[in-house]
């Protein structure tokens, strides 16, 4: 017999690191993901992740920390997408599709060459599907700092982003530089995707970005609650995923833990499906008594 929350769980260094970085990743993905969904940029998030995979693979080949590879490729891709996307909407899908194919091809090459050189086959798995238990403690400050920068930036831009997703012209008429705001948001998105790539892998990072946000948007009505809800759902899925992955060491095949990414993504999906169990949301008109609190006594 064993406990799900083993006494040794929190004493383990890798687990503590995983819980900390997992929290940063989940909060950043949740907060930033809400705007990816409302701005209709889920596909952009996935595209950034694919390009980030090439960056992570390149970093592995060059013997560098993969996070910096993810981040550099992600931000470069965000810049390219902004430049291509603002000019003309038509053809953007095609251009993105072609670039994504090329990026994943490059990732394949880098991973293959890197595997030949270092004779470690685990790297391909790490880049594509993540490995939150093997994050070096030296990377943690960089992860936390990047996450904080991205979350603070998006919180600062929240109102403007909402106004612009309501109508770009409405924002422009109020003097908002909609293009600049969009570009800054894409950079924040690239950072959050890179963080998620470290934790659950480049290929799966979209799940953490979109899943909790989409779930929170179904059950909340205000932007602040949606952001907080998405962060909380992502956090719950990530932490529970880490605990389950740690526990899965005892599951068949014995002695080999299951990947954390699997648990996180499965929990995110379960949460999203659960949100459909709620009744339809259309509000009944408020009762006239509720308005009384605002009238002068």
């Amino acid at each position: 017999m064993h406990y799900l929350l083993e006494p040794g769980l929190l004493a383990s260094g890798p687990v503590r690191t995983a819980l900390l970085t997992g929290a940063v990743v989940a909060i950043a993905s949740g907060v930033i993901g809400v705007f990816a969904v409302t701005r209709g940029q889920s596909f952009a998030g996935h595209s950034l992740a694919d390009v980030a995979a090439a960056g992570g693979a390149g970093a592995f080949l060059a013997g560098l920390n993969q996070f910096w590879g993810f981040l550099a490729a992600g931000i470069a891709a965000a810049g390219l997408m902004e430049a291509a996307g603002v000019q003309r909407r038509r053809g953007r899908d095609v251009a993105t599709g072609v670039v994504l194919g090329a990026a994943l091809g490059a990732a394949a090459l880098f991973l293959y060459l890197g595997t030949l050189r270092t004779a470690t086959t685990g790297a391909a798995f790490t880049v594509l599907f993540g490995s939150i238990f093997v994050i070096g403690p030296g990377t943690v400050p960089a992860l936390v700092a990047s996450g904080a920068v991205a979350v603070i930036a998006v919180c600062l831009l929240a109102r403007v982003l909402l106004l612009a997703s309501l109508s770009p012209d409405l924002a422009r008429a109020r003097g908002v530089n909609v293009r600049l705001v969009g570009a800054l948001y894409l950079i924040a998105l690239a950072i959050s995707v890179s963080l998620a790539a470290v934790a659950i892998g480049a290929v799966l990072s979209t799940a953490l970005l979109i899943g909790p946000a989409a779930t929170a948007l179904r059950v909340t009505r205000t932007p602040v609650r949606a952001m907080a809800g998405a962060a909380a759902i992502g956090l719950a899925a990530t932490w529970l995923g880490i605990v389950l992955a740690y526990d899965s060491y005892y599951w068949p095949p014995r002695g080999h833990g299951w990947p954390v990414s699997f648990f996180v993504v499965a929990l995110v999906l379960a949460g999203y499906l659960l949100s459909y169990a709620r009744r339809p949301r259309r509000l009944a008109p408020r009762s006239p008594h509720e308005g009384a609190e605002c009238s002068p006594a």
């Binding site: 600062l156 109020r174 509000l283 008109p285």
Partner: protein, 280 residues
């Protein structure tokens, strides 16, 4: 109505001398080129304080373009836009929100039902949606938002998600959004398009009441003038890249519109309604 209304171009000078203060918005010789094509040429008209003006014309005549010029979203190829006698600042006053005193309700928005905004959040964005950070909830803000919602009769669904409201309800919320920053001029781009007859009448009634009670001017674009005939003080008729302005009776005549369109049109009046029909 005074004489200068009937002489929109030549009467301009006299108007400015006698009643400069009354002119809230003035367009002088505005021309717009889009993609090398002259869309509008020499557009001149003025809107006075407390006036309900209809920007009427067929689809594609350049109504939206004209509104975008007034808002500073479209640079004209020539001419001047004056707000309160001053040339308007670019882009709502360079990041300063709504200093120009112009409220705007854009053309039909498609709002996703999952958009995490209640009607009251949309109205609240009208107060300071261009600022950084979050809006701190306060009693004062709540009262302002409630008042704007009451002014347009939208208080019943203040807490519903805006994406789940009907087209007419969304229009009211967007008008409240524009109204809360206390503009002197409200620009509305086809607010009656895609509305059922009842919502259409309700929106026109709400706007008519706002003009009377809040002393603001309204410039509303529409391809059909009929729902507006009772409330319009002035019509700005756009066709063929040009405008004609004045009262409806003055502007909407077979001769006047034939001159504007550059080909024969008949204006038919049936039981208080106006039909503009292309002739042979």
């Amino acid at each position: 109505m005074t004489q200068e209304v009937t002489r929109p171009v030549s009467g301009q000078r006299a108007t400015r001398q006698t009643a400069e203060r009354a002119e809230l918005l003035e367009l002088r010789g505005i021309g717009v080129r889009l993609g090398g094509r002259q869309v509008l040429g020499d557009v001149t008209f003025a809107i006075r304080k407390g006036e309900f003006a209809g920007l009427i014309g067929p689809n594609g005549a350049g109504k939206t373009t004209l509104l975008r010029v007034i808002l500073g979203l479209q640079e004209p190829s020539g001419g001047q836009v004056l707000v309160h006698g001053e040339p308007r600042e670019k882009r709502g006053g360079r990041g300063k929100g709504n200093k120009s005193g112009i409220g705007y309700v854009p053309q039909k928005l498609v709002i996703d039902p999952d958009m995490p905004l209640r009607a009251r959040d949309v109205v609240s964005l009208g107060l300071d949606g261009h600022r950084l950070g979050f809006a701190f909830p306060s009693r004062q803000r709540r009262e302002l938002v409630d008042k704007a919602l009451r002014d347009v009769g939208a208080e019943k669904y203040a807490d519903a998600r805006v994406g789940e409201l009907s087209g007419g309800e969304q229009q009211r919320v967007l008008i409240a959004h524009a109204l809360i920053s206390r503009p002197r001029l409200l620009l509305l781009d086809e607010p009656l398009a895609n509305l059922d007859l009842k919502s259409e009448q309700e929106i026109v009634a709400v706007l008519g009441r706002l003009v009377r009670e809040h002393e603001i001017s309204v410039l509303l674009s529409a391809h059909d003038m009929n729902p507006l005939l009772r409330v319009m003080d002035r019509i700005v008729y756009v066709a063929n890249g040009k405008v004609a302005t004045g009262s409806t009776d003055e502007v909407v005549t077979s001769e006047g519109l034939t001159r504007l369109y550059g080909h024969h049109v008949d204006v038919v009046r049936v039981r208080g309604r106006v039909l503009v029909v292309a002739g042979e």
